[in-house]
């Protein structure tokens, strides 16, 4: 067998220097060999990022401290290495790429110079040799027009290009180990696919050992040779990819896999004859950048979008970032004013009417946002947040608070949560609170703008179930905006696929997501990571089809 590059043995990382502090990492052992990709999987708070930062020696000083165990990089102990030695090893022997390519590069330095810095710190090459090597590396990561990009600032590049720069920077000195911490989580699926295959390709060419950290089982299925599952700082299970996906031995791993929403759409519900509650006709939003002098610029964020939503149904808008899906949602809720076109809410046109006339209609349509950590006011109790809407519409305070308690029960939280503050709840619980807040006004339409995207899969599954249950009980219509086709497949009756502000394809979810007519929809489905695996049934999709056919 080939050599072990990274050998983590019985590692313990605690909070603070004193012994007996809470352990963030509790005795994990993993090995990564040459030319091998080990996927470290886990939900938020499982300690997977701390493991990688400990390896790089990048833990915030003094707050998190490795207290026992060992980390060996090609036989050299890292935990006892001096700061100076660690600096020498970084980029030359071990390198790291991060989750957010948007913020991981210094915004005020051209990207070429940022790569150059690695060479200047670790080699004695002269300026010309360095530049040649950088341009060569940039070509290896398939960047176009390398000379131009060399001199560009990060904000001129797309997310995918920036992540390629990060990869070029990490691999320019051919380190033995590459740590990739959720490198594709912030990217669109089509870009994600390209980056994953790029990492594969470079790994093959350079023989790099890759420690790949992710929460996404789809990505795991695409890239891993072996998988290690983490939970609350402990290693739950480890093994070759196939073994873990097919025969997970631990309960936690089984649950994790079972929560991954399937790409196969759920069985369609019968056609609805309920009344239409929401219609958008030729809805457009054009952003004009007005210049003080000279000509302005126009950006068409939504271009003649038409959609219909019936009572008790769920309509999904899917698309990548910049497709205009959120713009449409915000126009429909009138958080922003559409440039042209109409929105009919419960039979009443609301696109053009003034804010004051709109006020009575607002309660009929409510929205749940993506980030439950920022969409609730941290200084207001949960109860007051929920009751604020009804109180605005004239409900007496005690009645509104009583209703808040009922709603909290409806979304599966204890009624005494009313007097607590948002920070006392987890992400999933906060999203339940946000849903309760939206429901407080008895809306006809609930708009969920990427409402489950920030949640771990197990929590995501629960929140999706909650949406379903609420719909069944209250007969509410849901407009579900998501970039995740798996989520769309599990909750939507109809889907609208958007690209560059336009509707590309539209129809029943079961139809569009299995037999797409348009090339773009097909490309999106093709790019969905792990599409060959039916995680919840622990088998590849192909076998499932064979079994039922």
């Amino acid at each position: 067998m080939t050599n072990t590059v990274l050998d983590i043995n019985n590692l313990v990382v605690s909070v603070g220097k004193k012994p007996g502090g809470p352990k963030i990492i509790d005795g994990i052992s993993i090995q990564v060999r040459e030319r091998e990709t080990l996927c470290l999987v886990g939900e938020s708070g499982s300690g997977k990022s701390v493991t990688s930062l400990t390896t790089m020696g990048l833990l915030p000083k003094g707050t998190l401290v490795p207290t026992s165990g060992s980390i060996k990089l090609v036989g050299e102990e890292l935990l006892t290495a001096t700061d100076r030695r660690l600096r020498q090893l970084r980029a030359t022997q071990m390198a790291m790429i991060f989750q957010e390519p948007m913020t991981a590069l210094n915004p005020v330095v051209p990207v070429g110079r940022q790569i150059d810095e690695v060479l200047r710190a670790h080699t004695k090459l002269d300026a010309r040799a360095r530049k040649k090597r950088i341009l060569d590396m940039m070509e290896q990561v398939h960047l176009p027009q390398v000379e131009r990009i060399f001199a560009s600032y990060p904000h001129r590049l797309s997310g995918g290009q920036r992540q390629r720069i990060m990869i070029a920077m990490a691999l320019v000195l051919e380190p033995k180990l590459l740590i990739a911490d959720e490198p594709t989580t912030a990217l669109d699926v089509t870009t994600q696919k390209q980056i994953l295959s790029l990492i594969r390709e470079l790994q093959r060419d350079h023989g790099t050992a890759v420690l790949f950290i992710t929460h996404d089982m789809g990505v795991v299925a695409e890239i891993a040779d072996r998988v290690a599952v983490m939970r609350q700082g402990r290693l739950v299970e480890a093994g070759p990819l196939e073994t873990v996906l097919r025969n997970p031995t631990m309960e936690y791993t089984r649950n994790l896999l079972a929560s991954v929403p399937s790409l196969v759409p759920r069985p369609p519900r019968e056609e609805s004859r309920e009344p239409v509650v929401l219609e958008a006709n030729d809805l457009s939003k054009v952003y004009k950048e007005r210049a003080f002098f000279g000509k302005g610029r126009e950006v068409v964020a939504a271009d003649k979008v038409t959609l219909t939503l019936r009572k008790g149904r769920t309509l999904g808008i899917v698309g990548e970032s910049g497709s205009g899906k959120s713009t449409v949602a915000r126009c429909i809720v009138r958080l922003i004013d559409p440039t042209s076109g109409g929105v009919r809410l419960a039979g009443r046109e609301i696109a053009g009417i003034s804010r004051r006339l709109l006020q009575p209609h607002r309660q009929k349509i409510q929205i749940v946002f993506q980030d439950p950590y920022r969409s609730l006011n941290p200084r207001v109790t949960v109860g007051e947040s929920i009751a604020e809407g009804p109180i605005n519409y004239g409900v007496a305070h005690p009645d509104a608070m009583k209703r808040a308690r009922e709603l909290l029960e409806l979304v599966g939280l204890p009624p005494d949560a009313v007097s607590r503050y948002p920070h006392q709840f987890s992400g999933g619980q906060r999203q339940r609170i946000a849903i309760a807040r939206a429901l407080a006004l008895d809306p006809d339409v609930l708009v969920a703008d990427e409402a489950v995207s920030a949640l771990d899969v197990s929590v995501q599954a629960q929140v999706l179930e909650l949406f379903d249950e609420i719909q069944k009980r209250l007969g509410i219509a849901i407009l579900f905006i998501t970039h995740d086709l798996r989520v769309a497949a599990q909750i939507c009756d109809e889907v609208v696929v958007m690209q560059h502000g336009r509707v590309v394809e539209q129809g029943p979810a079961a139809e569009v997501l299995t037999h797409p007519k348009e090339a773009y929809t097909r490309a999106l489905l093709d790019a969905a990571p792990g599409r060959d695996w039916d995680f919840a049934n622990f088998r590849p999709v192909a076998e499932g089809v064979g079994a039922t056919a």
Binding site: L58, R87, F98, T103, A104, V109, V118, Y153
Partner: protein, 313 residues
């Protein structure tokens, strides 16, 4: 870049126009006869009439304004009512000391404060950080005249290293200029060091939490390069803002310091003019101060675009 500069300079014209209008109306719209205000309580009718004709007060308002602006553009700011000297000349004499002291102060403050702030942020939470922040509180709370008199007592009177007071132009030799500049600069820079150090520390602390600083460390470059190349440049925008406004404040007059060290700067000129109700001088000072602020703000904005390529107007 050049186009941007021209546009910004062009945009400053209406601002200065509004200021000019305000300054012009200041005298004309105050209740009562401007000539009477100017002449004081014991003026003879002949003197009132003379002032009226000399100021053109018998003309219609709009004609007066045009004449006044026209004179302004030709560098004629009128004549002081007290000294009978042209206002332009009076200010001209006072500008050099003020600019000297402002420049020296801001340079000293930046040289001392920025490294202090960077070190405090780098060693966040340690005794070094607390020591720097303690100094900064001291700098804020001790009044400038107290610092000034202590410095005079120690270095001028006891040790006799430098003269007590006064100002010499730099054109008459660097030595005498420097001798007289040291104490007021030190006294005045105290509070600016405190301010800029605090600002630098806060901005650095923000930036040190950014992902690209982690990236820089992951590259294996040394901490000095991480601090200077990656953190400080990104933290510079708020710091530059404080430095710029601080400089504008300094140049438009630091009355107390000028009084303590007997420096003939524009701060004292302004105070004297206000006390003596020397309207032409007051008007000129308002115009000058506004102009300084407009120019400094322009420079700050230009500095932004140089520091951060994302900022484009």
């Amino acid at each position: 870049m050049l186009g941007y500069l021209l546009r910004r300079i062009f945009a400053a014209v209406p601002v200065m126009g509004v200021v000019a209008l305000f300054v012009f109306l200041l005298l004309r719209l105050t209740p009562g006869d401007p000539a009477a205000i100017l002449a004081g309580d014991n003026a003879t009718p002949e003197r009132l009439e003379r002032i009226r004709t000399s100021l053109g007060l018998n003309e219609p308002l709009i004609v007066q304004f045009i004449t006044w602006v026209n004179k302004l553009l030709h560098g004629d700011l009128g004549t002081s009512l007290i000294s009978n000297l042209p206002v332009m000349k009076m200010i001209g004499q006072r500008v050099e000391p003020s600019i000297s002291i402002a420049l020296c102060t801001i340079i000293l403050a930046v040289i001392v404060a920025v490294p202090l702030g960077v070190i405090a942020a780098w060693k966040h939470g340690t005794w070094i950080d607390r020591f720097v922040m303690g100094l900064s509180v001291l700098g804020f709370s001790v009044p400038v005249f107290v610092v000034g008199y202590i410095l005079i007592q120690v270095f001028a009177i006891e040790l006799r290293w430098v003269p007590v007071q006064g100002f010499r132009s730099i054109f008459n030799g660097f030595g005498p200029f420097f001798e007289r500049m040291v104490l007021p600069t030190c006294a005045l820079s105290f509070i600016y060091i405190a301010l800029i150090a605090r600002m630098t520390r806060a901005a650095m602390l923000d930036v040190l939490g950014e992902d690209y600083v982690r990236t820089a460390r992951a590259k294996g470059i040394n901490e000095v390069a991480v601090m200077m190349r990656h953190a400080l440049r990104n933290a510079a925008v708020p710091v530059i803002t404080v430095i710029g406004t601080g400089f504008a404040l300094l140049i438009s007059g630091v009355v107390v310091t000028e009084s303590v060290f007997n420096i003939p700067g524009i701060g004292r000129l302004t105070v004297d003019a206000v006390l003596a109700r020397d309207y032409p001088v007051i008007q000129a000072m308002i115009l000058l101060t506004s102009l300084i602020y407009v120019v400094v703000n322009l420079l700050i904005d230009v500095a932004y675009t140089l520091l951060d390529p994302r900022i484009r107007y």
